[in-house]
């Protein structure tokens, strides 16, 4: 390697692979560059994005207001399709969240050191996505103000929730997922908040960052416990993330509806979740690195690795579609053939079925070409089409299976209304409002972790201060 003169343990493992960050970055550079957006005035782009997202959020609030007064009838829900776009949106957002945990926990356990550039923002994305996801079941239950009935609490009638129902598993899975993701994220943030606290000059901001940095000192013993806990969080978050989407898929798979009753659902949902989540990470990072000039840290190599993961998960998803279709034909049930093959690809929902196939199975194959994997504009476009495709995948699974079941006299057709779309737009607004605030006020890259994988982690010399003391 070029700098074989590096001595000690740092270069010992750094030399086994190409450098992740520019070799001459100092510790001082890292703190200064990553925290720069906190002290810079937000750009016009930031304000534009923020105000647009905020407008969408207000639209969502308006929909909720109307829905709480008028009822679920404003949506496209009509018999027989009583699970419509809200459940689609729920599964979509939970899925988005999974990439964050995958990056922060699973890649950590596999010692993928490139994750240091993206884990913080991906974890933030997880938390905000799960918040959006949690909104939809609460609205979907109709009597939203009675949502606390989902929690088992001692009540006057001595009744409990039904623990044998996947819908209750979901309540526990999603709330556990949110809690653990939030704690994992916050624990990782504490040392970086301390960095901001100690670099901050404005007294009020210093006090606020200090409050959240919780007297972090960074002693050897602190780091020892911190690192142990971080590894343990990664170890428990990994099976957790797999369980959450498996439980979400059980909402469908445990029923006996053709199109839902499928043993392949848990792994298929998890792969789809990672696929859409990584696409969302790419969407966000392309914007983030441009808006806050973080190209030194979120490099093209990082984006390329993520595009490779998108390609890999796209092929898993494609394989799952093929297995579903094959099993529908092979098991000889006319209802299964009708749902999986006829309705979705030739019947009333063919438009949605083919959108899914084009976006999820065909377009991501462009990532076989290195030029496209490293083209910002194209990867941005493909990350958006992937998420359109993944939204439609859930739409197809949920809506088509309900629209036409065993009895032709009860068949119906679900039409998305403006209210359905407005509520989805509202959740997108909520997501981006939270993300933009995060990007403005919190270090978007894990400073301490980047410092840990630098080639030569030394501080810059500051001659004025130190030579007088030395």
């Amino acid at each position: 390697m070029s700098d074989a003169h590096n001595s000690g343990h740092h270069s010992a493992h750094a030399n086994m692979e190409p450098p992740i960050y520019r070799a001459d970055l100092t510790l001082t550079d890292v703190s200064r560059d990553i925290n720069a957006p906190i002290w810079a005035k937000p750009t016009g782009w930031w304000w534009g994005a923020f105000l647009t997202s905020f407008a969408l959020l207000l639209l969502g609030v308006y929909v909720i207001w109307v829905q709480l007064h008028v009822g679920l009838g404003i949506l496209g829900l009509r018999r027989p399709v009583m699970w419509g776009s809200y459940i689609t949106d729920f599964v979509f957002w939970v899925g988005i969240g999974h990439a964050g945990t995958l990056i922060s926990a699973i890649l950590f356990l596999f010692r993928q050191r490139w994750r240091t550039a993206i884990n913080r923002s991906a974890e933030a994305m997880t938390i905000f996505a799960v918040m959006c996801a949690g909104l939809f079941p609460l609205l979907h239950i109709g009597r939203t103000l009675l949502c606390y009935w989902l929690i088992p609490y001692p009540n006057q009638r001595h009744l409990w929730v039904n623990f044998k129902s996947p819908l209750i598993w979901d309540v526990f899975a999603v709330s556990t997922y949110f809690t653990i993701s939030l704690l994992f994220w916050y624990q990782g943030l504490i040392p970086d908040l301390a960095t901001v606290r100690d670099m901050e000059t404005r007294p009020i901001a210093k006090a606020i960052y200090g409050f959240f940095a919780q007297k972090w000192k960074g002693t050897a013993r602190d780091w020892l416990h911190y690192e142990a806990a971080y590894g343990l969080f990664a170890a428990i978050a990994t099976p957790l993330v797999l369980s959450v989407h498996s439980v979400v898929s059980s909402d469908f798979a445990v029923s006996s509806i053709p199109g839902w009753h499928d043993t392949i659902f848990p792994p298929y949902f998890v792969a789809g979740a990672i696929f859409s989540g990584f696409a969302m990470v790419v969407t966000i990072l392309v914007i983030l690195r441009k808006a806050f000039r973080l190209e030194e840290y979120i490099t093209m190599d990082h984006l390329e690795v993520m595009n490779k993961i998108i390609l890999a998960t796209s092929s898993i998803v494609t394989y799952s579609y093929l297995v579903e279709i094959f099993m529908a034909w092979y098991n000889g049930s006319p209802f299964e053939v009708h749902t999986y093959i006829w309705i979705r690809f030739f019947g009333p929902y063919a438009w949605a079925g083919w959108t899914t196939v084009v976006c999820n199975c065909i377009l991501p194959n462009l990532f076989w070409f290195k030029k496209i994997r490293r083209n910002l504009f194209l990867m941005f476009l493909l990350s958006i089409t992937t998420n359109i495709g993944m939204w439609f995948e859930r739409y197809v699974i949920i809506v088509t299976s309900l629209a036409q079941d065993f009895l032709p006299s009860s068949w119906g057709y679900f039409k998305v209304t403006a209210w359905d779309l407005a509520m989805f737009a509202g959740s997108v607004g909520l997501f981006f409002v939270l993300f933009l605030l995060f990007a403005r006020f919190v270090p978007t890259i894990a400073i301490a972790e980047v410092k840990g994988v630098l080639r030569k982690p030394v501080g810059e010399a500051s001659p004025v201060l130190e030579e007088s003391n030395a």
Partner: protein
């Protein structure tokens, strides 16, 4: 609130983790004990250099995982079979497979929350609006070595640290 009593000590400030590790080895060689180091990121090999014991975090997580899982399962079994038994599709009242997801999530939830609180306790974290660290550069780009000394050793240790490449040496009383 008064700060906790701190014995007299010498603080050496370095800009390079290698120099810090070498200094720790040299200072320990001279027989000084109870050293502590301040670093902006977890330096590989530092706990070993200081001779720290392994963290007790794994015990917390493991114990609390099994506690949480047991509690969750017991609660499910109690509500579904004792408190108000409801026949769901002719399944047994205590039916293990459908109880598993929440048993697992319960374990994870309790394990995660306990691990977080264990860190708060172990690192003595507490929200404070006006906390002043020992040196503001330790979370940024400098490494600190804290050597507790007897008052008469102070100048010896100061020159020792300077000889080991400390950019700055300070006496903490």
């Amino acid at each position: 609130m008064p700060e906790r009593y701190r014995p007299p000590a010498v603080l050496g400030i370095f800009r390079d983790p290698e120099a810090l590790l070498e200094a720790i080895a040299a200072v320990r060689e001279k027989g000084y004990r109870g050293l502590d180091a301040y670093t902006p990121y977890p330096v590989h090999g530092l706990p070993e250099a200081l001779g720290l014991k392994e963290s007790w975090m794994p015990r917390v997580t493991k114990t609390m995982f099994f506690t949480g899982a047991t509690l969750a399962f017991t609660f499910e079994a109690w509500t579904m079979a004792r408190a108000w038994a409801i026949d769901v599709a002719g399944k047994p009242f205590i039916s293990v497979p459908p109880f598993m997801p929440i048993t697992f999530e319960g374990g994870i939830l309790i394990a995660g929350v306990s691990t977080f609180w264990a860190v708060v306790i172990a690192c003595r974290l507490w929200p404070s609006f006006k906390y002043k660290p020992l040196d503001e550069r330790f979370t940024n780009d400098r490494f600190g070595l804290y050597v507790p000394v007897r008052p008469y050793e102070s100048s010896t240790v100061q020159s020792l640290l300077q000889g080991l490449g400390a950019l700055e040496v300070r006496e903490l009383a």
